[in-house]
């Protein structure tokens, strides 16, 4: 790479000190009508640009900061065998450059304004963000709109960046025994549901990815009608909408080639997988196939499963901690829960680490006993109240972070639920009864939906060579 030392500063003359004044732009465009949907309680506002790109703004005037996130509705769940990890690899390459902002300048420009920027890839989304002083929002729009359409994927950049991605996989998964159990759990539970493969991709696929795979992926998914722009912070919604239209409004929409449904084969019987790894502490995960909110036939079931997660693992007072950690001292730690905001059917997860005195088999049995208890008996009103109290408090606490608020909006939008779900969530959780919790436990936490993944530690024997 050729170091570019002067360009960033030159660009800043154009961007930072003259053109980037939101004041003038707002005046210029204020007259143009725009259809805006607002919720005053949530202080959230939405508009859709003519090209289909949705823009959502949430006001938070506590500090002179703003976060801007661009969410693309593509993640590892859109990938097929052979190209797993392509969404994430493309996310890395999105920082490499365009004709207007060549390799290296993106980071320098963002650094120059003191923004924190990064990106994250999930099963259902790829998202890019800048967190910055409120006066810099326009630079963020300029850069994001540019790389939405003009990314240059060079062979040279890719060659070293894919090595970085492989290092990331080694770091997060290959050298982390519990992460390998997690990876194997999903790969075993799902045959043809797209959550089968890991977000970061299989190593062999990473080794064989080509720039052309990324190019295809970019062309297929990166377009305004497949994206949402989320802005949270000390901003005036109308000004943001106007600015968004100015920067993103002219980008051509294209047809989105829909993914195939890939509905999971019915499971018959429990699946088990063992991961042998050089490790010292055993570990177990259980995964039960459950619907997400977006896929549930009866949407209350998703909320009931969420409450069930709270009853089992909503803090230290919850059942797994109280009974398995403190009462029986079977495990040093245990967890349960699920992501009701997944786009496709997903897994309700349990995990546990046994104490020295107990075996993984005992722990597995103990987890089944807890499940049986939930299926046979009603959870107490106190337990439900505690789960609900925490939901109410969490809604306040999460407002302490603009980034967190934006992430909630972005993920709801991306899976098709919409940001208004934020306003409904608490009510829907509050309405869940003990009977409903029992009902979902009886319906979903059953053998024919279960996959068990175990870590079997093997000793590290020093080689003598």
């Amino acid at each position: 790479m050729k170091p570019i030392k002067f360009l960033p500063l030159v660009l800043l003359l154009l961007l930072g000190c003259s053109n980037f004044s939101s004041h003038t732009i707002a005046e210029k465009n204020d007259a143009v009508e725009m259809s805006i949907i607002s919720d005053q309680t949530l202080k959230t506002h939405e508009t859709t640009l003519a090209n289909g790109m949705k823009v959502i703004v949430k006001e938070d005037h506590r500090a002179p900061v703003v976060v801007s996130q661009v969410w693309y509705r593509v993640g590892s769940a859109q990938e097929h065998s052979g190209i797993t990890g392509v969404s994430h690899a493309l996310e890395h390459m999105m920082f490499k450059g365009t004709e207007k902002y060549p390799s290296g300048t993106f980071s320098s420009l963002v650094a120059e304004i003191g923004a924190r920027d990064n990106a994250f890839t999930g099963r259902d989304y790829t998202a890019y963000y800048q967190l910055m002083g409120k006066d810099n929002l326009e630079l963020s729009f300029e850069l994001e709109s540019d790389r939405m359409q003009n990314l240059i994927l060079s062979e040279e950049d890719f060659k070293s960046e894919i090595e970085v991605v492989k290092e990331e996989r080694r770091l997060r998964t290959d050298d982390n025994p519990n992460a390998r159990v997690f990876e194997q759990l999903f790969a075993t539970a799902f045959t043809n549901n797209p959550y089968h493969h890991p977000i970061i991709g299989w190593m062999n696929d990473l080794e064989n990815l080509q720039v052309s795979d990324l190019e295809e992926w970019y062309q297929r998914w990166y377009m305004p009608n497949n994206a949402s722009l989320v802005v949270v912070g000390d901003v005036e919604p109308k000004q943001v909408f106007t600015m968004a239209r100015q920067y993103f409004g002219d980008i051509k929409s294209r047809e989105i080639k829909a993914s195939k449904p890939r509905v999971e084969q019915p499971q018959t019987g429990t699946r088990r997988v063992t991961v042998k790894a050089i490790a010292k502490v055993p570990y177990i995960m259980l995964g039960y196939k459950v619907p997400s909110l977006a896929t549930a036939e009866n949407d209350w079931e998703a909320y009931a499963l969420s409450v069930l997660g709270g009853v089992l693992d909503g803090g230290r007072s919850a059942r797994l901690s109280k009974r398995l950690v403190r009462e029986k001292e079977l495990v040093s730690g245990a967890g349960a829960g699920y992501n009701l905001f997944a786009r496709y059917p997903t897994l309700f997860l349990f995990d546990a680490t046994p104490t020295e005195q107990h075996s993984i088999a005992e722990v597995e049995q103990a987890l089944y006993e807890e499940i049986k208890d939930i299926q046979q008996n009603l959870v107490s009103e106190e337990e439900l109240d505690r789960v609900k109290a925490q939901v109410i408090a969490s809604e306040v606490y999460q407002q302490d972070s603009v980034q967190r608020q934006a992430t909630v909006i972005g993920s709801l939008e991306t899976v098709g639920l919409g940001w208004k779900e934020m306003g409904e969530y608490r009510q829907r959780i509050n309405a869940i009864t003990a009977e409903q919790v029992r009902e979902v436990a009886q319906k979903y936490l059953i053998e024919d939906r279960l996959t068990v993944a175990l870590l079997q530690p093997i000793e590290h024997v020093a080689e003598n060579n």
Binding site: M1, P3, K5, P8, L9, V10, L13, G16, C17, R62, A63, P64, V65, F95, G104, S108, A111, E112, I113, G114, A115, R116, M132, G133, D135, N136, S160, I162, V164, V165, E167, E168, R170, D175, V281, R316, S317, A318, K322, R326, E329, S332, G333, T355, E356, E382, D385, R386, A389, Q390, A393, S394, Q399, D400, V402, P457, H460, E463, N464, N465
Partner: protein, 439 residues
């Protein structure tokens, strides 16, 4: 010419903007002499409280892991309250309790909604378990078992192993040498009485600092601080920890481990909080390895060579000198190469310092990013604890940008030469085949 103008333009702008943004800090002493710091944050109906003690793992003395274990036991009992009661109380109120242990300090924290019906009992429980814990025997054995599993778990993680080896190499016999979680044999030998003694000696009013941020007024905050402070026994402030000395025989350490990656740490003894060179080193390190994608280390190690997903460097100033650390992870057969590239990058930086453009970019990043440092109650609470604990000036935040602005290329060169001498850098590599390490 143009370039300089632009830098100035942005610079001045950021400065003006952020100078007014620093929060208004109120400070006082409770009737029994505990320092309290408070920032009113009326925007959200919530309160954050943190009590900081000079009671980190550096105070473990002969029993590494003791402070950690003591703090892990706080929420297992107080008076007639059991671990179940405490958990049910906090969670029924939507309140959150946390305790954390670092090398020099420890802290206990409460987050609650402001509503009196929720906050009053949450505060009461928070005070009860931190000032008057009962340390039940049954819970002690359980927590000890959990601690031992955590240690075992660490010993299967090359990153943790490398970090441990690093601190041991830098600090030798100093109390910062051991990991906060301790060692198997020391944790095994901790008795319940040791836990009680540690609490009695270190979690006392004369060793405490209270920080409060939230939707209350000053009068209310004073009342809360008073209630907290007077619930602790008075006690005394512990003697300062010894000043670490630089080991004479610094050597590189290689620990084979059957992992895909080697974890590499380079470093040496750095500076303590309040060091006059702090801002020069902070800004300089931003150029070297603290500034993310624009830093030299990321460019050399990650962008140019694709050797590591993450590579960084930082000074970690503590009450007594803390370390300078450079860290990265890479495929085992590339570990030597990555370490060499890192060392060369430091060497080059030591020789030439940052260029004018680099320093300007870093300064703009630090100054422009200032609002992000204090944009949440949690961040502000962290700064109150930092300012109070290390006795930094109360206008630390207000003057932060001035101090950064005053840094020059020359100051950085001088400060780095003084504090970073590569001849004394230790290199730790964990991961790779047995036997002699090399390619």
């Amino acid at each position: 010419m143009k370039i300089k103008l632009i830098a100035l333009c942005l610079f001045g702008f950021s400065f003006l903007h952020t100078a007014s943004a620093a929060p208004q800090i109120e400070q006082w002493q409770t009737s029994n002499g505990v320092r309290a710091l408070f920032v009113a944050a009326p925007e959200l109906p919530m309160i954050d409280i943190a009590i900081t003690f000079d009671a980190g793992s550096g105070r473990d003395a002969e029993l590494p892991g003791l402070s950690q274990m003591m703090h892990a036991m706080l929420n297992t009992g107080s008076g007639s309250l059991s671990a179940d009661d405490i958990a049910e109380t906090f969670e029924g109120l939507g309140a959150r309790f946390g305790a954390s242990v670092s090398l020099d300090r420890s802290s206990v924290a409460l987050r609650s909604l402001t509503d009196e019906k929720l906050f009053v009992p949450a505060l009461q429980t928070f005070i009860a378990i931190t000032a008057n814990p009962s340390f039940p025997e049954k819970d002690f054995l359980r927590i000890k078992n959990q601690a031992l599993i955590a240690i075992k778990d660490s010993s299967q993680r090359p990153g943790d192993m490398a970090s441990r080896a690093f601190y041991k190499a830098i600090y030798n016999d100093h109390p910062y040498a051991h990991p906060t979680q301790g060692y198997k044999h020391t944790v095994e030998s901790i008795r319940l009485q040791d836990v009680k003694n540690f609490h009695q000696q270190y979690l006392v009013a004369n060793n405490a600092l209270i920080a409060i941020v939230g939707d209350i007024d000053l009068q209310k905050a004073r009342g809360i601080a008073e209630q907290i402070a007077t619930s602790f026994t008075q006690g005394s402030k512990p003697e300062p920890l010894p000043v670490p000395t630089v080991a004479d025989d610094v050597r590189d350490i290689y620990i084979p481990f059957p992992s895909q990656q080697s974890h590499v740490y380079l470093g040496k003894l750095g500076i303590q909080r309040g060091d006059e060179d702090y801002f020069a080193l902070y800004a300089g390190n931003h150029v070297l390895g603290g500034g993310g994608f624009t830093s030299r280390l990321v460019k050399e190690v990650r962008v140019e060579r694709g050797l590591s997903y993450s590579v960084y460097s930082y000074f970690f100033p503590l009450l007594t000198p803390g370390p300078f650390i450079l860290g990265l992870q890479t495929r085992t057969d590339q570990a030597q190469q990555a370490a060499e590239v890192s060392l060369q990058t430091i060497d080059k930086f030591l020789m030439e310092g940052p260029s004018e453009e680099e320093l300007s970019l870093s300064k703009n990043n630090i100054l422009g990013g200032f609002p992000l440092r204090i944009d949440s109650n949690r961040d502000i609470l962290g700064y109150l604890s930092l300012i109070g604990y290390y006795q930094l000036p109360l206008d630390y935040l207000e003057t932060f940008n001035d101090n950064i602005s005053a840094v020059t290329q020359e100051k950085i060169r001088t400060a780095f030469k003084k504090h970073l001498n590569t001849e004394k850098l230790v290199t730790i590599i964990v991961g790779g085949p047995d036997g002699e390490h090399g390619s």
